[in-house]
């Protein structure tokens, strides 16, 4: 079967033609069924303006972050006071949350984004620093109208959680609405626009990888589990960390490689 490029005033598509033949310029031809019904013919679709994409508008893959130490403290958990004024129950350590801006996007709405470490996309609550004595640091990220921000939760234990340096990445995606200011197809010199900006060459999509691409990996399954009062979390770079007395058997997720030409 042939790969076809179709555009009219309503839609733009790149697709592998369906069986049945017909007139290539007739949208109702059997061969053009992927044009009119892309979800049913999703296995044939290479691009379609009725679908949405991760269109990259901002990225920084080398954001250096200096995480601050979390000091240990003793907390008198019981509070009734012994003869010396101390409870027999003491809680060691504390959790401290800090927020760290990662990238400005200024889109005016909270966009889709990916948060990376070691070229893999981080889930929420990822342990990036795991040390003995139940001293751990978990990071997440969130979107505002102007920024992507890191949520840094550090726990000390019987000793301090040390300061920690790491490098992160952020990729920000535009909301994929059609823009009527653009034509359905523009192949003018220096530009390529398909589907009223559903594709614009200067803001390419997250896509499958090929020779020469920089790869990012996205988990295709669960990245964390709990058992016996503890967690297992799979690192984005491979391997896992257990914190607390985890004794379960969460399997490693598979990853799929993605790239974008920028």
């Amino acid at each position: 079967m042939s790969v076809r490029f179709y555009a009219d005033e309503y839609r733009c598509a790149i697709y592998e033609e369906a069986p049945g033949g017909g007139d290539p310029i007739d949208p109702n031809a059997l061969m053009n069924r992927p044009v009119l019904d892309p979800l049913t013919w999703i296995a044939n679709i290479k691009f379609h303006s009725d679908l949405n994409y991760y269109e990259i508008v901002a990225q920084n893959l080398s954001i250096a972050v200096s995480h601050l130490a979390v000091p240990t403290i003793d907390r008198n958990a019981g509070g009734s006071g012994g003869e010396a004024g101390n409870s027999i129950v003491t809680l060691k350590g504390q959790g401290i949350v800090r927020t760290i801006p990662l990238i400005d996007h200024n889109l005016g709405y909270p966009p889709k984004f990916f948060f990376l470490n070691n070229n893999r996309l981080l889930p929420q609550g990822m342990p990036v620093q795991v040390t003995s004595g139940d001293r751990n640091r978990f990071v997440s990220a969130y979107a505002t109208n102007t920024q992507i921000v890191m949520f840094d939760l550090g726990w000390s234990g019987t000793a301090d959680l040390a300061a920690y340096n790491a490098t992160y990445g952020v990729i920000v995606f535009r909301d994929p609405a059609k823009d009527p200011a653009y034509p359905m197809l523009d192949l003018s010199p220096g530009e390529a626009v398909f589907g009223q900006r559903k594709f614009k060459a200067s803001e390419p999509h997250l896509r499958a990888t090929g020779l020469g691409d920089t790869l990012w990996a996205i988990a295709r399954g669960r990245t964390a589990g709990i058992r016996n009062g503890g967690f297992r979390a799979y690192f984005p770079g491979g391997g896992y960390a257990d914190f607390g007395p985890y004794n379960g058997s969460l399997p490693a997720p598979s990853y799929i490689n993605l790239a974008a030409g920028i």
Binding site: S2, G78, V89, P123, L187, G221, G229
Partner: protein
């Protein structure tokens, strides 16, 4: 500048700044149209209070000064989708009649909706806040939420580690199961598996004139777990983690503070239920359509 556009040999390519901006043989990750999305506003995500027991501390100083503390305790539990109803029992004098732990309870999956056939990828966006706060653990603070609240977050793979305050861990996930999108909740309490009292102390007989801990409630009528099940046959295993302070009475001469005395520590159960209210947008898609 667009460097080149190739439309030939069954392939469409757009090259921009010497890099591949679009290639029909390297298809984009695709998200289905907005009308295929699952949108749930105000979705409740409830983690029930784990089952608790009691531990009692009684101390005497000199001939008349006494004090007491009454705590709720956590024992080995696993909660999640498909967990059967099971109560751990342990009989020290007759291990053969014991029922190994953990105590288990079902937390049914929550169906968020369905997606078109052929979906092999979901984009999950969620904004949630803890609208039902659990009581303080360890008389200190409720379990800290492990992610930011009131803002939009995502999680590739669908796992959301939620709360951790040893010995308690909580997590939810939003995952694809066939063409159904499920929200699953899990909570787990560590297995102490020790005959010792809290803090590693030996069990003391505080119904008489001893000082120390009892982790079986310490008085008649207190061997009832917070869910109404009996904890008598569990004693003394799986019962060493203090959870919440129920009552305390400081050193004074005001009555007998033994668990069976005239002025004991007493009180109801802490409530460690944690409730999140979430706005959720699940957009179905495919990793690489056309391949």
């Amino acid at each position: 500048m667009v460097d080149a556009i190739y439309i030939d040999n069954n392939r469409v390519q757009v090259v921009k700044n010497s890099d591949i901006a679009l290639d029909s043989e390297r298809p984009s990750v695709v998200l289905y149209p907005d009308d295929a999305r699952i949108v749930r506003n105000g979705q409740q995500i409830v983690f029930p209070s784990p089952i608790q027991r009691r531990a009692y501390y009684r101390d005497q100083s000199g001939t008349s000064l006494t004090r007491c503390e009454l705590w709720s305790t956590f024992f080995w539990q696993e909660w999640g989708p498909g967990e059967s109803y099971h109560n751990e029992n342990y009989f020290p004098g007759n291990p053969g009649a014991s029922t190994p732990g953990p105590t288990t309870r079902n937390l049914p999956s929550i169906t968020l909706g369905s997606v078109p056939a052929g979906t092999d990828y979901i984009d999950v966006r969620i904004k949630l806040s803890r609208t039902g706060m659990p009581d303080d653990m360890f008389n200190s603070e409720p379990p800290i939420c492990m992610f930011p609240q009131g803002v939009w977050i995502t999680s590739p793979g669908g796992s959301f580690p939620t709360e951790y305050f040893f010995p308690l861990a909580r997590l939810f996930e939003i995952v694809l199961s066939g063409t159904t999108v499920l929200l699953n909740r899990y909570q787990s309490v560590a297995n102490g598996n020790s005959p010792l009292a809290p803090g590693g102390y030996s069990q003391a007989d505080i119904n008489i004139n001893q000082s120390g801990w009892r982790s079986d409630g310490g008085a008649a009528g207190t061997n009832i777990n917070s869910d109404g099940t009996s904890s008598a046959s569990l004693f003394p295993y799986s019962n060493v983690y203090l959870a919440g302070l129920i009552d305390l009475k400081p050193y004074d001469t005001d009555g007998n503070k033994r668990p069976n005395g005239g002025n004991p520590c007493s009180g109801g159960w802490p409530d460690f239920t944690s409730t999140y209210t979430a706005d959720i947008i699940v957009t179905p898609g495919r990793y690489f359509p056309g391949t």
